[in-house]
Assembly symmetry: C2
Homo-oligomer: 249 residues x 2
């Protein structure tokens, strides 16, 4: 039932990142017992309501945290990118609050609570980092909530594209403003609270306006960042400092 592990070989050659993110390397060094797991695009790694007392650290690829209403409508709460950490369940409430779905082929680590509570000073250091990641996740979710509540379709899509762009850029996964985009328009609609049809119309309008472009079917390029920021209501530098963990320079 759980996705199969495939040993701890290093991800290479996929083009979507040449190695694991630094935080993952640290976890792997700290606990050699950790095994890298993988799942193909589309796989549901965890389902809302499942028993779960662990956390997840994404190594490669994209994953979605989502929730679903009884009538089947699904909302993506957060998109996980390489290096992202998510609390799936806790000891006090060992039930998954969200579904986790692989948006592309992914590799990830499953972290048990005891792994994160060790007294090892290295681990204490990591705990600080995890806390910072939780804060940035909260900040992202709040930004998304603001758009879902108060912004038009264009504002929501512009926001989503910019959020992903800024985060990928920080990971070194962009070339200029171009990046690989594994989500379908349907999934983008689940993220922005729009129908797939309206996502399509909005994106096409932006494309015709020269704001975005599709250099190839699986990539997207943000050809007018200023316009996107204007539409999304974002000041790019402020936004970066809010949703990224500022690296010491």
């Amino acid at each position: 039932m759980p996705p199969q592990d495939d040993g701890a070989r290093i991800a290479t050659g996929s083009g979507i990142g040449v190695a694991y993110p630094p935080i993952a390397e640290r976890f792997l060094r700290l606990d050699p017992q950790l095994r890298v797991q993988s799942a193909p695009k589309g796989r549901l790694i965890v389902q809302e309501g499942d028993f779960a007392d662990h956390s997840m650290l994404l190594l490669t690829g994209w994953a979605a945290l989502s929730k679903t209403l009884p009538d089947g409508d699904t909302q993506i709460i957060d998109v996980m990118l390489p290096g992202d950490f998510a609390l799936i369940g806790a000891v006090v409430a060992p039930v998954a609050a969200c579904t986790v779905e692989a948006l592309s082929d992914v590799q990830f680590l499953t972290l048990q609570p005891e792994n994160a509570n060790g007294a090892d000073p290295q681990m204490a250091d990591l705990r600080g980092l995890l806390a910072a990641m939780i804060v940035t996740t909260q900040a992202r979710t709040a930004e998304l909530l603001l758009r879902l509540g108060k912004s038009s379709a264009a504002g929501r899509i512009a926001y989503a594209l910019l959020e992903l762009y800024v985060r990928l850029e920080d990971l070194g996964l962009t070339r200029n403003t171009r990046f690989a985009f594994p989500m379908t328009q349907h999934k983008l609609g689940e993220f922005t609270g729009l129908s797939n049809v309206h996502v399509c119309r909005t994106l096409r309008r932006m494309e015709r306006a020269g704001i975005v472009a599709y250099p190839d079917p699986h990539d997207i390029a943000l050809t007018d960042l200023d316009a996107l920021c204007e539409i999304a209501g974002i000041d790019l530098e402020t936004f970066r400092s809010g949703i990224l963990i500022l690296r010491p320079r």
Copy 2:
């Protein structure tokens, strides 16, 4: 500029809670230097973008965490109730991500980061509790996000009322399904992503359907919980376990 403290006298007689929540008592006992602050209804306690490196613990009353778009539209991210804890800013990013506004007259504590990092075993215990509160806050925000993205006006309002009801019930601040409701319809619209006019229409429709009632202008009663749950897409018991910290019985 900051709201004035008024010493650490116990809140009595206001009717909205006879004493501070247990977690607040623990903080006050642990650090007698802490001073209770207060702010009147409507006061902006912190504004988005302000310098802030502290956290807040609400003692009495309701407060809103909100974000605003450049055009002035405001979205309430979370409603704080007595005993709730919010990270306003962190050492790594000492800028408030949200505005904090008093929805009623409030009393609260300002917690400095060093207060929460002490090695005192009592404090370690509190840290665990704070972590649990952060998780429940995440769960609430995710539920709200789901409604803003995928639910109708009725679903959003039903959700908001139920969330507040369940949390207030847990605090002992309800009588049956009735509770004091200090938010205006405009604020409820900022919480649910609706215009004040549409909030009004939706609530009136529910009132005519016998789902909610206004026993007096400042109270609300949820006269048909089952119907509200159905509209909101909620299973009440599952919902409780997701957004509350389960008390040991």
